[in-house]
Each structure stands twice: as structure tokens, then as C-alpha cells.
């Protein structure tokens, strides 16, 4: 789909220093303060040469792939391969090699949970290698690459109006978008729901639910390595994050004594089940409520920070260095709550 006429302003690349900025893949080696690189130093030059891609079978048809950037979810079966997110462009060769270890069937679908480059960087190089499934209405028989599915706001943020230089190449853009509610597919013998989580990490978040395999890919609304990060500039909000977490909890059903059952693949971090996400939701809700109470009392940001609303969680989720510090989180929550009516 070529850039449409939406007047959404794409993020200026000059904003690299602020949270949630989006740079072209050619600049992806520059660090984005908004993005978490779990394995590497947060230096200017990111060296992806030493990154290995690790593959973890989850359950059913679903695998989790971990490298640098956001976790990838892979679903493989007779009809081909489906990916949720594509990490960074320079890792595409390694990612493709890892996929080929599991399946030599064509890559049919890429689903993007949101527009950040650590989740969409590989779109172009991976989609190019794939072949769309020519079924259903609107199938573009001319289009030989994999279908890229995402919420419309992902397309909006990756593209630009005619005449304006877009932030990413057109070949990386979503080809099938949806606007509200959810988009359903049936692939490799299971229903797959791509569910919109409005105003959460960004304004274009999708949660992907593999029905028969019983796995949920959350994107960055949930991670196990830091406080929730949400991109206020890109339409994210703390309340949206909490709603998204509750939505995931609603979908998840544990197997026995609150263990197992539905597995959840976070945007960053380890594989989880419902109990893990409940703990994360509780933490986020408690901190949100505390900051909300302080905002209502008219406290300033500095006063809120001094009151340490995250104190007991800092050892688990907090950080004083890197792109996602505790301070940044408290500030983001404060701004998110102060801005709401």
C-alpha cells in the first residue's frame, strides 16, 4: 500500500533524542533512547555482529525467537510461516536462517505489534523473501512478497504524504491494516486474532492471539525487564497500557493452579504465563494509582519523584542507566495522568 493521504505527521528524525522517536533503518545503528537493548551497552554504535538468534518452542505451532530488539513470535505449519515482528534489519539474515531451521515453507504473513524499529526493522528484507497467500477478497495477485498486517496507525507512522520523505521505505510498510476491534485470520489450522489495544504503548498497538496454540504475543505493552514503557509522543498512555494488560489477562486461562495454559510472549524478556502478567499488571496499577493520587493533590513532578512511588519495585524493574530509567518512567506516568481530562 503506498503512502496514503492521511495527514498524520510522521515523527521527525531530529527527534531521535526523545522517547519514541523513529529513525530510518539506515540509522538504526544509532541508539534510540526509547528502545531497550537488553544485551548490549547503550552506546552510540550498536554492534549486531555478535548477536545470536535463539529459538524457543512455546506450544502448538508457536515459537519464540530472541536476538536483539523485540522478541519475534513465529508460527509454522503446512500453509507456511507467520511472524509477529521482525527485529532489526541487519539481523534479517540470521533470522531467516533460524526460520529455515524450523520450516522451509514460504513466509506468508508478518504482523507488526507496533511501529518501533526494533520490531519492524526487518520488515522489508523478510517480506521480500516471502510469498503472500493468494486467498480471500482483495488478494493482490501481483504482489509476490509476504503480507504485512498491522494497525492503521503503524502504516501512518511508517509512511508519509506524497511529496514528503517517509521515515521508512515503502517495502517495509504494512499492506493490510485494520482500524478498530480486531482482525482475524485462520492460518496453519488455527484462528489468529490481531487485537487492537488503543492508546497503550503507542497508538497503533496490536496483541496477537493464537487460538489453538493458546499463545499471546503482546508487543511492548508487556515486558519482563523494565517498567512499562509507553511512547507519549506516539499516542501511548499509562491507562492504555493497563487496559491492554487487563485484556491479555482476560484472554489468558491458566492450566493448573495458576500455571501454564495460555503462554504469553512479551515484547522484551522471558516467556510468561498468566500469573506473571497479573503481577506486572498489579505493579503498574499500584504505581499508576499512587501517582494519580499525587497528581490530584497538585504535587509537582519533582515532588512526585521525591516521594518514590515505585520504591519497592525498583529492584525488580527499575534502572538508573540506559534508555528506560525509573525516573523516565515516573515522569511519563506523571505526564500521562496530568494530561488526561
Amino acid at each position: 500500500m503506498t503512502g496514503n493521504t492521511k495527514t498524520q505527521r510522521h515523527e521527525d528524525t531530529k527527534r531521535a533524542a526523545s522517547k519514541g522517536s523513529y529513525s530510518r533503518p539506515s540509522l538504526c545503528l544509532r541508539v534510540f533512547v526509547s528502545l531497550c537493548f537488553p544485551l548490549l551497552a547503550y552506546g552510540q554504535q550498536q554492534n549486531l555482529d555478535n548477536i545470536e538468534i535463539h529459538v524457543l518452542p512455546v506450544q502448538g505451532n508457536v515459537y519464540m525467537m530472541v536476538g536483539a530488539g523485540g522478541n519475534i513470535t513465529l508460527q509454522a505449519g503446512d500453509q507456511g510461516v507467520l511472524l509477529v515482528d521482525t527485529q532489526f534489519a541487519p539481523l534479517s539474515d540470521k533470522i531467516l536462517a533460524a526460520i529455515r531451521n524450523l520450516s522451509n515453507k514460504p513466509i506468508r504473513y508478518i504482523i507488526n505489534t507496533h511501529y518501533h524499529t526494533d520490531h519492524t526493522g526487518g520488515n522489508e528484507s523478510i517480506a521480500k523473501v516471502g510469498t503472500t497467500l493468494n486467498v480471500g477478497p482483495g488478494a493482490n495477485l501481483q504482489r509476490p512478497t509476504a503480507t504485512i498486517i498491522a494497525h492503521e496507525n503503524v502504516l501512518n507512522r511508517m509512511s508519509a504524504p506524497a511529496g514528503v520523505q517517509p521515515p521508512t521505505p515503502a517495502a517495509a510498510w504494512p499492506t493490510d491494516t485494520y482500524v478498530s476491534g480486531q482482525k482475524e485470520l485462520f492460518f496453519n489450522d488455527e484462528g489468529i486474532e490481531v487485537i487492537h489495544a488503543p492508546g497503550a504503548h503507542t497508538d497503533g498497538d496490536s496483541i496477537v492471539y493464537f487460538r489453538r496454540s493458546d499463545v499471546v504475543s503482546t508487543g511492548d505493552v508487556f515486558n519482563t525487564t523494565s517498567y512499562p514503557y509507553f511512547d507519549v509522543q506516539a499516542g501511548g498512555s499509562i491507562n492504555g497500557v493497563i487496559d491492554a494488560l487487563n485484556r491479555i489477562i482476560q484472554i489468558a486461562i491458566p492450566k493448573h493452579e495458576q500455571e501454564g495454559g495460555t503462554f504469553i510472549i512479551p515484547g522484551h524478556g522471558r516467556l510468561c504465563d498468566e500469573a506473571d502478567i497479573v503481577e506486572y499488571r498489579d505493579m503498574t496499577t499500584i504505581i499508576r494509582d499512587r501517582v494519580d493520587a499525587m497528581v490530584k493533590k497538585g504535587m509537582t513532578l519533582d515532588q512526585v519523584k521525591a516521594a518514590r512511588p515505585t520504591k519497592e519495585y525498583d529492584r525488580r524493574y527499575g534502572s538508573t542507566t540506559g534508555p528506560r530509567t525509573t525516573d523516565r518512567f515516573v515522569e511519563a506516568v506523571y505526564r500521562s495522568l496530568s494530561a488526561k481530562k
Binding site: G136, F186, G191, E193, R211, R212, D214, I253
Partner: protein, 346 residues
């Protein structure tokens, strides 16, 4: 006393190649809108002649089977942990039903889920429960009954309310058949035989205590009497049912269902009465109900009386498929119930 049509003539089931059509059993219950009292307890019911009823089993997909006999369709999920049933038909068929279950699995019956209160769906509760053995541990501590005694019966709270009575008052149904695990709103989740099972409340639909049951991995939905394939849906207004609620519930089923290819297959739906379906069948049914509801709504806005509405024949194009002029639920009864239901809206 519930009135039963006698069995003349309509018992012969038609079994299509590869599909079992539900018997349009004239023994079917008719919870008709003008029926007031819950029937006598099952064992005191007018004895039905079930001698000639055969039980048929249709494997659906995953762990799920559909069992057809007389009364409501039964859904069975079987696996290593045991057997789960949705609905239990009539009490008089319990032996045959158990025999059928034993053809598929000899593991204990752990759960019975009731989609709603009517006796063609709950009649066998007591017999089947006693034949079962609840799973120990987990949520069992909250049961009303002794945890060691019989299978758990899961249903919406209004099913329990309708089957029981305050102390000192004769209960409409024997306590052995009452739900043991109830929920009030939203849904109740279980995980059984390797898959999540969701029991989802559908308020004010066929009755006020309806649940649909969604077997997540097997990808099968048991719809109860919210969705039937052989007649217009029964709206049990006395029990809090409404046409709008049925339409909302059918839309919920459509929301849950994901078809596999070209709108076929994928999620299967087991209706309360009638044949196995997929999403496209439910969509057709939803469209029919919505169109008829809208027509009647317009007529009511114009101030038409029930007689006038009936004369205007708001269902005429659908009658060959869903209509009936005799039996337990006729087109006239449906139009009347729809009229009352829509008029009663605020």
C-alpha cells in the same frame, strides 16, 4: 405440567450423509412464553416413551463430540482428565446417554455444564452427576455439595435459582440435579483435557440464565438454545428471555468464531437443537432474526396491534426454512413472543 406433544409421526430422524441431523423430536421441550410454572421434578414428569430413541455420536473436532438423542444436543469433551458434558438431555435417557459416553471414554465424568434451565437440557443432571466423580483439589472447596460425591455441575446462578426454592417451599427440580458451581456475570474459565473452556454468560437471551461454552483449542462452541437450526428460536419471556438478547448472543458467537477458508469450517458451533454448524450458518440465522426483529419493531412504532402484525406476516420469506404451523413452537408463537419482547423494551 409441561405439555408434550405426543410422538406420532415426527420421530423419524433424518441422517444425512456424513452429518447427523437432530431429530425434530416432538418430545422437545417447549418453553413457551405462556408457560408459567417450572414442570414437576423430573422424576414426576409424565413418563415419556424413550424406548425408541437412539443416541448418535458425531465427532466434531479436537476433543469434542456432539451427542444427539431427544431433547437438547449434548456436547462431550473427552480426554485424559476425564469427561465433560454440556447439557444432559432428559432424565429418561440417562442410561442410554451414559452408555454412549462409555463408547468414547471410560474415564470419570468430571463436569456437567448447563447451558440453561430447561429440562430437555438439564433433565439428566442428577443421574449423570451421580455417575461422575469430581476433580479433587482446585476450586472444589467452594462446592455446595460434598466434593467427593459426583461430578460438578456448572451453570449461571439463575439456573440454580430457577431449579431451587427457599426452605420450606417445594423446589421445582430435585436438589440432586442443581448446579454446584455457579457464576454471576462475565464468564467462568476452566482448563480441562489440555484446553481452556470458557463458560460465557449471555444475559436475557433464551432465558435469563444462558451460557455458551467455548472449547478453545478444539475450537467448538456449544450455543444452547440461543441458536437452533430447525425452528425460530424460543424466547422464554417468563424466564427473562428476550429477542434482543438472543440477537446479542448470536453476535457474540459470531465474534468468537473464526472460519478457516472461504467462510467454511474453522470454529464449529453445536446448536441446542439441530445440525452441526459453522460461522456462516450462524450468520444466516443472525441476519434472519435481525431482519424480523427490525420489521416487527417498525410495525410496533406504527402502533400496530399483535393481530395486525401477525397479519402482516413479518416472517413470510423465512417460514419455509424455520416456520411451523404445528408442534411445540409455531411461527405464530414466535411472532407473538417477538412482539411482546420488543414492546417490552424501554
Amino acid at each position: 405440567m409441561r405439555n408434550h406433544k405426543d410422538t406420532k409421526g415426527t420421530k423419524a430422524g433424518r441422517i444425512n450423509k456424513g452429518l447427523y441431523a437432530a431429530r425434530l423430536c416432538a418430545l422437545g421441550v417447549f418453553v413457551v412464553s405462556h408457560l408459567i410454572a417450572f414442570p414437576q421434578p423430573a422424576h414426576a414428569q409424565q413418563p415419556q416413551n424413550f424406548d425408541n430413541v437412539e443416541i448418535h455420536i458425531l465427532p466434531v473436532q479436537g476433543n469434542v463430540y456432539m451427542i444427539i438423542g431427544a431433547g437438547g444436543n449434548v456436547t462431550m469433551q473427552a480426554g485424559d482428565q476425564g469427561v465433560l458434558l454440556v447439557d444432559t438431555m432428559y432424565a429418561g435417557l440417562s442410561d442410554k446417554l451414559l452408555a454412549a459416553i462409555r463408547k468414547i471414554s471410560n474415564k470419570p465424568l468430571r463436569y456437567i455444564i448447563d447451558t440453561h434451565i430447561h429440562p430437555d437440557h438439564t433433565g439428566g443432571n442428577e443421574n449423570l452427576r451421580k455417575a461422575g466423580a469430581t476433580i479433587a483439589g482446585g476450586n472444589v472447596a467452594g462446592n455446595i455439595r460434598d466434593a467427593g460425591e459426583g461430578a460438578a455441575i456448572v451453570a449461571h446462578e439463575n439456573v440454580l435459582n430457577g431449579m431451587s426454592a427457599p426452605t420450606g417451599v417445594q423446589a421445582p427440580a430435585p436438589s440432586g440435579g442443581w448446579p454446584t458451581d455457579t457464576y454471576v456475570h462475565g464468564q467462568k474459565d476452566l482448563f480441562f483435557n489440555g484446553e481452556a473452556v470458557q463458560v460465557i454468560y449471555q444475559p436475557a437471551a433464551h432465558t435469563d440464565g444462558d451460557s455458551i461454552v467455548f472449547f478453545r483449542r478444539s475450537d467448538v462452541i456449544s450455543a444452547g438454545d440461543i441458536f437452533v437450526t430447525e425452528t425460530y428460536p424460543v424466547i422464554d419471556i417468563q424466564r427473562g428471555g428476550s429477542l434482543d438478547g438472543i440477537i446479542d448472543s448470536v453476535n457474540r458467537i459470531i465474534d468468537l468464531a473464526v472460519p478457516a477458508d472461504k467462510q467454511e469450517g474453522g470454529t464449529y458451533i453445536i446448536p441446542g437443537h439441530g445440525r452441526l454448524c459453522d460461522e456462516a450458518d450462524v450468520v444466516e440465522y443472525r441476519d434472519m432474526l435481525t431482519i424480523i426483529r427490525d420489521r416487527i419493531q417498525n410495525m410496533i412504532k406504527k402502533g400496530m396491534t399483535l393481530q395486525q402484525v401477525k397479519a402482516a406476516k413479518p416472517t413470510s420469506d423465512y417460514d419455509p426454512r424455520w416456520g411451523a404451523t404445528s408442534g411445540f413452537w409455531t411461527t405464530d408463537m414466535f411472532v407473538e413472543a417477538a412482539y411482546q419482547s420488543v414492546s417490552a423494551r424501554k
